[in-house]
Assembly symmetry: C2
Homo-oligomer: 295 residues x 2
């Protein structure tokens, strides 16, 4: 079996050819995210990206991400939690049986309110495979950060925090934007950690965010330090809302972002282990291997 792994997101299409032992043979990237693909054109766009790989004998193509959403190639209905490799494999949406499949996202219901993720599931499964973990807390920072709790090899539950999006909203469109400099600049670690700390004293970011304005107003924080402070406030608010005591967390994502989370967690007495987004390729490979060994 030769795996063609596909991460088809909103604004980007990434494809990879993965060897039998899980190692990466080649990776390709195109700006043809699902928002740029007309209905019906998904098979063609995929062939343009990696038709040569798909034509290899025994090729298996697994597609994760927003391609499986209602706005994508075809809806791959969410797989309800708890969900492990078996549940995910059974819930694949096959486009060409035995050859091309969409990986579903996960869903849950908490007191009548649903939560969903799509794309992050393969990163969590990849991290579990890479670190040989059957349980743990996995955090995937981003526009919508996901906190995923795994036990007995299955995702038991998860929680979405719109942290990246709130940061961008406050940064670009709020009254705070008037005081902040045009660019974010490099991370100002003391200002970032001051934001993390302040968030722990507040009960809501509706209140704590205003401190980015008043500290500037009273010249207690330089404008250049404000983006880092605000980032600390938002990430700190997310951490305030979690029970962190004694927790060890696996962070998965872009290094610049997981570094901030690791810093914030450490300042609150919490250890973390960091993995890059390549955990997703590993997750697709581990999923493919389970398909192969099924009876």
């Amino acid at each position: 079996m030769k795996l063609v792994a596909v991460d088809w997101g909103t604004s980007c299409l990434r494809t990879a050819r993965i060897d039998d032992d899980g190692s990466l043979i080649e990776e390709r990237r195109s700006p043809r995210g699902i928002l740029g693909v007309p209905a019906g054109a998904f098979p063609q766009v995929l062939r343009e990206s990696c038709g040569d790989w798909l034509d290899l004998p025994d090729a298996l193509c697994l597609v994760s991400g927003m391609a499986g959403s209602r706005q994508g190639w075809q809806e791959a209905p969410y797989c309800p939690c708890p969900a492990g490799f078996e549940e995910l494999a059974a819930a694949l949406s096959w486009i060409t049986p035995g050859k091309v499949a969409l990986v579903p996202g996960l869903s849950l219901d908490f007191l009548g309110t649903p939560d969903v993720l799509r794309g992050e599931e393969v990163q969590v499964f990849g991290a579990m495979d890479l670190l040989q973990l059957q349980e743990g807390v996995f955090v995937l920072p981003g526009t919508h950060c996901k906190w995923v709790r795994v036990a007995e090899g299955r995702v038991q539950s998860f929680t979405t925090f719109m942290s990246g999006e709130f940061y961008a909203l406050l940064r670009q469109h709020s009254i705070l934007a008037r005081t902040l400099p045009a660019g974010d600049g490099p991370l100002d670690e003391p200002a970032f950690l001051r934001g993390v700390r302040h968030a722990q004293q507040s009960r809501s970011i509706l209140h704590s965010a205003f401190s980015a304005r008043t500290l500037a107003l009273f010249d207690r924080l330089l404008p250049a330090a404000l983006p880092s402070y605000l980032s600390g406030l938002v990430i700190g608010e997310e951490l305030r809302a979690r029970a962190l005591h004694g927790l060890q967390v696996v962070l998965i994502g872009e290094p610049a972002l997981t570094e901030r989370y690791a810093l914030a967690l450490r300042s609150l007495g919490c250890d973390s282990h960091r993995l890059g987004p390549e955990a997703g390729w590993r997750g697709l490979w581990a999923l493919a291997r389970r398909l192969e060994t099924r009876p």
Copy 2:
């Protein structure tokens, strides 16, 4: 003494002539908020609005709001809390001694983080005078909602919540905007209260806001109900962050907004009394009366 009361905000200039007994003789409104007034033109713009009143014998003009900010007519430095009528009167910034003065805003410092308000102080003092209260909790909803605690006739402390602004950011610029209808429509009370309730179960709006998306995704809330639900989430988050038990609250502001707060408070077992923004005229009048009776 004839009082010319002025509320000079960011986008609007409101002036009023107030009788000796505190009753309103006439009110005028112009779109010349401080953002539309060039530096140096403040005296002229004020004369254009109410020069006839200012020329009356014994006229006293008190100006509250953003005209006293750094971007306004002249900076009226914040008066630190605790502050009552005496402290506010002593901290007036006189433009023409005995004739025209800017009312300062209030400031405080909580664990090294400042908070400020400007304009709301006269509404709180007006409410105290109207209701003959020497203590209480006063809530002034708006872009930046202020919770003001009064004891012994003085503002002891206050807290800012950027609730109105967060609602607008989420409504207009977030991913939720894609699912929400173009207009807000009338308040959908059950959807609003569902948002208030959901906010009490969550520990942060970074998480709870995502439910506006997932409830729509799973067809558990109609798009038309989403603006009311989101409004309930934001106001509910603000209330979650306060200790409400057994509290009686005075709400001051636009009726459409104080009505929502009253509804949300009632659903959490908390009584409230509502006043309109005209409490501000009363506050300026009560302040003027104190000036008159000073030794």
